[in-house]
């Protein structure tokens, strides 16, 4: 039992994850209306199948996609994130060192890059 205090029982969410996300998303949170319903985009190559009752054995990438989505949702509360790009404002959550996949951003206009992989998009007018 004592070993559990030094060995994480779950690989999914750790304290430093939440602290890191709070820091990463602080500026975008300040720029958004508090109770907004926002779209969400991340690396689509890692997109998970719908969660909840469709959830089954996940690949590691899918699990990390879900983790990143939930962490973003947790720190952006009370705004609500929806995992699509059909909303007026879309939050981008990308791995900080890598540029977002441009193919996935088709139809979106970058409003602001908050740095550290956090971006705010809107839909390109048709």
């Amino acid at each position: 039992m004592l070993r559990q205090t030094v060995t994480p029982p779950s690989p999914f969410v750790r304290r430093h994850d939440i602290r890191m996300y709070e820091n990463r998303f602080r500026r975008v949170k300040e720029a958004l209306p508090a109770h907004a319903v926002l779209g969400y985009i991340s690396d689509p190559g890692r997109k998970a199948p719908p969660l909840g009752f469709q959830m089954g054995a996940r690949s590691l990438h899918e699990a990390f996609y879900a983790k990143r989505f939930f962490l973003a949702q947790y720190v952006l509360l009370p705004a609500i994130l929806v995992d699509d790009t059909e909303h007026a404002l879309i939050v981008g959550n990308f791995d900080p060192p890598s540029a977002p996949d441009l193919e996935s951003l088709r139809g979106l206009v970058l409003l602001r890059d908050f740095g550290d992989g956090v971006m705010l998009f809107t839909r390109r007018p048709k």
Binding site: Q4, R14, G52, G56, P78
Partner: protein, 472 residues
């Protein structure tokens, strides 16, 4: 912050204490009686206050300070009950025959010492785990605490927490845990990880306290210590308790219901409070997790079977009436939440023609059987030996001794646990998710919910060490 935390905790316990005080002091074991009442007061206090907080939150949107009216009202009701109990204490304390006291051999003083060391270790580990991961584990962060955070910060939109937009956070799940956390945050004035950590700690150690103290009342002090060693000797209870999931709180309410029904058998007929409180505890199990509904149905079926078996029809009707008195107010809140506020649960929503295919698929049965076998035999997380084997071996060594008055309670408990396990099998069968993944992710937690009740019932059946000739 310390003062506000103190007010929050003390007020919560005070709300529960008035109701629990109706149990009276069970002679000749006043200390164990006091500990049992304290543990019940803590659990029922958190449960009742969360339900009242929810109702006042519904009445005022955005969340204002109107909940203070509910808190004061609950406190006044609790104090009134306490005063009434004090005025009639002669009626309450001149009763409660319990099993004959067997003097504890002096040489067995090491049991309290070992128990003390274990409880201090368990507490230290809990603090260590909570300091390391104060946000809890996955479900705690993204289901329970995410919902609590939304309710706190949601302002006039706080009811959106029950919308499909936050569907991944299971908006149909009952609200005891998140509402307890929000209530704590309101007392402290801000969102802090301290509150969910304290809620988790309270339920984890109240579970251990209630198991031991109730066995001290019903059996013997040494039996209680051994039960405590078995319960806390399972690392999973403390680890999972610190993870802030709702499995330990719901397990507490399962245990409280069974303990109260067993205590009721030792009290005179004129004392109704144990049965009423058992109803309240069962209702609070429904208010904690959906598994509470399965428990309620299993319990009622098992209880009817136990009473009919002993041909106690008159007692059964009276008991059901009293049980309903305690159950109805909480169940009304849960039913209102489920029917008017929460969306349809994912499990119900996911049923259709595929259900027939799943129920008739023999491979799913085999996979469930293999999953149960694997999880049960590795349950507890001590990575050495399953506690099931140790308990079996212990029973072979000490033998069985059942007090006649405990029989209905033991039958009720064992049958309830059996029905619950059958219910879990059924859920795994009809659940659309992959069976292996589903069992791997949830069965150990489901078994942990039942574990305190199983340990309590087991030690009601096992002969106390003082009465085993070769030991005593």
């Amino acid at each position: 912050m310390i003062l506000r935390s103190f007010v929050w905790i003390v007020l919560t316990i005070a709300i529960g204490s008035g109701f629990v005080s109706r149990l009276g002091v069970i002679h000749p074991k006043p200390l164990a009686s006091l500990v049992a009442s304290g543990c019940l007061a803590v659990g029922l206090g958190f449960g009742l206050s969360s339900a009242i907080f929810f109702l006042f939150s519904l009445a005022t949107s955005p969340l204002g300070n109107a909940f203070i009216i509910g808190e004061i009202g609950s406190l006044i009701a609790s104090i009134a009950l306490f005063v009434y109990t004090l005025q009639h204490r002669r009626h309450l304390t001149g009763c409660a025959p319990v099993s004959p006291i067997v003097p504890d051999p002096k040489r067995r003083r090491f049991l309290p010492l070992v128990f003390f060391v274990l409880i201090v270790s368990a507490f230290s580990v809990f603090i260590g785990l909570s300091a390391k991961e104060p946000y809890g584990e996955w479900d705690a962060v993204f289901h329970w605490n995410l919902r609590a955070k939304f309710i706190l910060l949601g302002g006039a939109h706080w009811r959106d927490v029950f919308s499909d937009l936050l569907g991944e956070s299971n908006p149909d799940y009952p609200l005891l845990t998140p509402m307890s956390v929000v209530r704590g945050w309101r007392y402290l004035g801000y969102e802090t990880v301290l509150v969910p950590v304290l809620v988790a700690m309270v339920f984890t150690f109240a579970t251990a306290g209630l198991t031991c103290s109730s066995l001290a009342i019903l059996r013997s002090r040494n039996q209680a210590f051994i039960a405590g060693l078995v319960l806390l000797g399972i690392p999973f209870l403390i680890i999972h308790g610190a993870s802030q999931y709702a499995d330990v709180p719901v397990g507490f309410f399962f245990l409280a219901t069974i303990v109260l029904l067993c205590l009721k058998e030792r009290l005179p007929e004129s004392i109704n409070s144990a049965t009423v409180l058992a109803g309240t505890a069962a209702g609070l199990a429904c208010w904690t997790k959906n598994e509470g509904f399965l428990f309620l149905v299993s319990l009622l079926t098992a209880r009817v079977a136990a009473m009919v078996r002993s041909n106690r029809w008159a007692s059964l009707l009276r008991e059901m009436r009293l049980f309903a008195v305690g159950l109805a107010p909480i169940l009304a809140v849960v039913v209102y939440f489920k029917t008017s506020i929460a969306p349809l649960g994912g499990l119900v929503d996911a049923q259709g023609l595929g259900t027939i295919h799943r129920v008739t698929d023999i491979h799913r049965y085999l996979e469930i059987f293999r999953g149960f076998k694997k999880v049960i035999l590795s349950f507890g997380g001590n990575e050495l030996v399953s506690p099931i084997w140790l308990l079996f071996l212990y029973l072979v060594c000490v033998g069985i001794k059942v007090e006649p008055s405990d029989k209905p309670g033991i039958i009720t408990s064992a049958t309830t646990v059996g029905f619950m396990l059958a219910g879990y099998v059924f859920v795994f069968l009809v659940h659309p998710a992959d069976v292996g993944w589903n069992i791997a992710g949830s069965l150990d937690r489901l078994l942990l919910q039942l574990w305190p009740t199983v340990v309590f019932t087991y030690f009601l059946v096992a002969c106390p060490p003082e009465e085993v000739p070769s030991i005593g």
